[in-house]
Amino acid sequence: MPRLAAILKLAGLCLLMTVAALNMARAQSGEVVFYGFTGDHIAPTIRAFNKRYPNIKVRAITLQGPAMIARLRAEKDNPRCDVVDTAADLLLTNTDLLTPYKFKEAGHFPSWAVIRKGDDVYGYGFSVAVQIFLINTTQMSLADAPRSWKDLLKLQYKGKFLLGNPGSTTAGYDSFAQMLQIAGPSEIETFINNAVFSPETNLVPQEVGRGEVPMGLVEETKAFDMKQQGYPVELIYPSEGLVPTVDGWALVRNGPNPENARLFAEFMNSLEGQNINVAHRNRRVGRDDANSPTGLPPMSQVKINDAVDVSRMTTERPANIALFNKFFVKKTQGQ
């Protein structure tokens, strides 16, 4: 026991000294810190950025959108992050954390891809997300599958489709908010009663792929990825059209490295930065001169649902969530 005690004391001391020493590696000049979505684009992005700016060290923290905002808000008095890439509606409901900026090549972004509040622009579309239907063909035949958002109001689809809870997931909120504008407040209760909501959105595509549910409301790229992996699934594009929502790179107010932050955001908005996103994540991007993802119909060939106002999805978010909670509770109270 004395030998063990001595070994443990020494090991403990070494460990604490290591952690304390490394804790002293604070923000240095010549670096930029970003919070962004995870993906295969991170490493090639950093390499490409460093080819242009070899003296700026890039430090990345990958999170989901709501967790990024939670972290930014908690760090508000002493920001640790310079640039953040997250969903437009999260950026626009937290503009007090951000600094607006104008990108010199803004002309390459269609108006729906510019993250704007009044005259202030907070970012430009980096990834474009569209919510579609993913069907497991062993659980539901294509002939029986819904073809439109309004079809989801039919009784035959009650309990048959899964999506993330709008209160805590970006994808779930996007689907819900679109449906609210398409079906209207009078029908949204039916939609909520028919749907199955999951607190965790990441595994919704897997659950559909494995046949846990016949169908899911899923972001297009993830749906396509499931098909590529060989799952018995098919993608259905709703007949009303798609509602593209974007995420973009925003500058954090009072970030530790504002100049480098600007350079990084501009790189990510550039053709080179956006094409890395296409090549490594197979994502649609905001720039009209960027490459198209493989296997997905180009935006020019896709029907856009102009009846849905994306800016309303942002401005009406608190009211929409309250409406969802009201009917969700009514539905689940029977449990």
């Binding site: 604490l16 804790n23 995870t38 993906g39 905002i69 607190p199 494995r210 018995p232 969700f328 509770v329």
Partner: protein, 542 residues
């Protein structure tokens, strides 16, 4: 003094400050003018909150009762009967506690989901349809099988250390085995069983991973806390919900304290000896089958993680269509640094937890009763709070002001310590409770100072409790996600973060391979720690 300073600065201050935000209007600073009970009245008036409260109570109580019911006989058999492979079983009993976040719960979907392997096999062979996994049934199943080892290990440690003289005397006097069990053995093990049960209850109340995958629309309090933080960064609302969780655990703690005070038995004296494991025949065979069966069923999620890691293609079919090591080849190239980070941070936090937790437990059990209750509550408060809220508390408190720790790794270590202190605390409290205080007193009467008595007399007697608690802290920290997400700086990406990224990118195979490696590494390190301590894994829990 150092322990008190640690408590004040890193436990009371951030956690207490965040908890007080539950009494403040949303978006307001902590000030008298902003005080309100509005965040709490929502619990009573809002149906969603009422439902979540009832769901949480139901799931937590059911999980606790079932966990105790299945763990007690197993602990008795392992401690007092010659169950074959006892050492191996005690080693394996730690593994269910090492469950990779999300993917561990998703393993139950792979097994018992609507299209799960077992579900489909049962339907194919018998035509029977198993009950739906999603909802309270699935959550209770996952929580029971993940957390019953707390009860098993604590009770086993107590039974192994207890002097069998009482039971042997009763046997000599003619008492039947059933009577001995009922009147001597059972009361002896109730304090450590209750300590283990409290951990099961607190974990069930504070767990988010299981409800997020298996709960679906059966909302729990932790689901609401995450909605409050991630949906609207309403810390005030989240803190109020967390305080209600703490209230529930405090009620359980109060019951435990009252029970322990009435039923405290000293079983370790200066003349204690280990009980012999005796018996044979059909009863032992059935007992061995029960214990082996229980442990193997509890290991099913980990087995599924390993199995899935070897599946290169598993596109929704009953079995994978292609096996191989491609997942491992990929993750091994990515995982070296995260593994080193996870082990370093977990080890540092474990050592600090052991020192602070053991001192706190000693002060709580041997000191003033009111002080003891206060320390108990302070230690349990962060344990019951979801890791996400603890992470927020630390980030908000130590991001600016006189002490800035954010941006480095030290804040992670401190948050880990505060969140997991309860393991060491409960385990050591149970161990100290068994030691006759007269042993300490005899040492002091003979002239030894407190520190000498603590080092040479008390510590060796409670060492099993300390080691057991330390093992639990380390093994659960390696894959912590919820605190880490909020606090990790770029240079300290951990294994859990990598797994989370893989899940987010729809790479289940990679996530399973990472999870399998994490389980292996943790088990090996715990085994090495036991060797270094000069004990086998089984003896660490005696």
């Amino acid at each position: 003094m150092a322990g008190a300073a640690f408590f004040a600065l890193f436990l009371l201050y951030p956690i207490g400050k965040t908890a007080l935000l539950g009494f403040v209007k949303p978006g307001s600073e902590l000030a008298l003018a902003s005080l309100t009970l509005g965040n709490f009245t929502a619990m009573v008036s809002a149906p969603l909150y009422r439902a979540a409260l009832l769901h949480t109570l139901f799931v937590a109580i059911a999980s606790t009762v079932i966990a105790v019911a299945i763990a007690l006989p197993a602990a008795y058999l392992l401690a007092r009967r010659p169950v074959p492979g006892r050492n191996l079983l005690l080693t394996l009993a730690v593994v269910p506690l090492i469950s990779p976040p999300f993917i561990g719960a998703f393993s139950w979907v792979i097994l018992l989901g609507n299209q799960g392997i077992i579900t489909r096999l049962v339907a194919m062979t018998t035509g029977l349809h198993l009950p739906a996994l999603y909802g309270p049934f699935g959550m209770i199943l996952a929580l029971v099988l993940s957390f019953f080892p707390y009860v098993l290990l604590f009770v086993h440690a107590a039974l192994s250390a207890a002097d069998p003289a009482l039971e042997e005397s009763a046997h000599i006097m003619g008492a039947s085995r059933a009577r001995i069990l009922r009147t001597i053995t059972f009361p002896l093990v109730m304090p450590p069983a209750a300590a283990g049960a409290l951990l099961v209850f607190a974990q069930s109340v504070g767990n988010f991973g299981v409800p997020s995958i298996l709960g679906r629309e059966y909302t729990m309090m932790t689901t609401l806390i995450v909605y409050q933080i991630e949906g609207s960064f309403n810390i005030n609302g989240a803190a109020a919900i967390a305080l209600v969780n703490v209230l529930m655990t405090s009620a359980a703690l109060l019951l435990l304290s009252r029970y322990a005070r009435r039923n405290r038995f000293t079983t370790i004296t200066s003349m204690s000896r280990a009980a012999k494991r005796q018996g044979g025949g059909l009863a032992i065979t059935l007992g061995a089958i029960y214990v082996w069966g229980l442990i193997l069923v509890a290991l099913l999620p980990q087995a599924v993680v390993v199995f899935d890691s070897l599946a290169e293609r598993w596109p929704g079919t009953l079995w994978p269509t292609q096996y191989g090591f491609a997942n491992y080849r990929y993750v091994l190239s990515e995982l070296i640094e995260p593994i080193i980070h996870s082990v370093t941070l977990s080890a540092a936090a474990t050592m600090l937890s052991v020192v602070i937790g053991a001192l706190a437990a000693y002060a709580a059990t041997r000191g003033n009763t009111r002080l003891g209750r206060g320390i108990d509550l302070m230690v349990m408060l962060p344990f019951v709070m979801p890791g996400l809220l603890t992470g927020v508390a630390f980030l908000v408190t130590f991001n600016s002001g006189p002490l800035v720790l954010s941006g480095g790794a030290l804040i992670m270590v401190l948050a880990y310590v505060v969140h997991r202190l309860a393991y060491i605390f409960r385990s050591v409290c149970a161990a100290i409770g068994q030691v006759d205080s007269r042993i300490d007193e005899a040492s002091i009467v003979c002239g030894a100072r407190w520190l000498y008595t603590m080092r040479r007399v008390t510590l060796p007697l409670i060492a099993p409790g300390i080691v057991a608690g330390g093992v639990l802290v380390f093994s659960t920290l390696v894959m912590d996600l919820s605190i880490t997400l909020l606090l990790y700086p770029p240079e300290w990406k951990t294994l859990a973060i990598v797994m989370f990224e893989q899940l987010s990118n729809n790479k289940i195979g990679y996530a399973s391979a990472s999870g399998a490696l994490a389980i292996l590494i943790t088990t090996v390190l715990v085994f090495l720690a036991s060797r270094l301590a000069g004990r086998s894994m089984a003896e660490m829990f005696r």
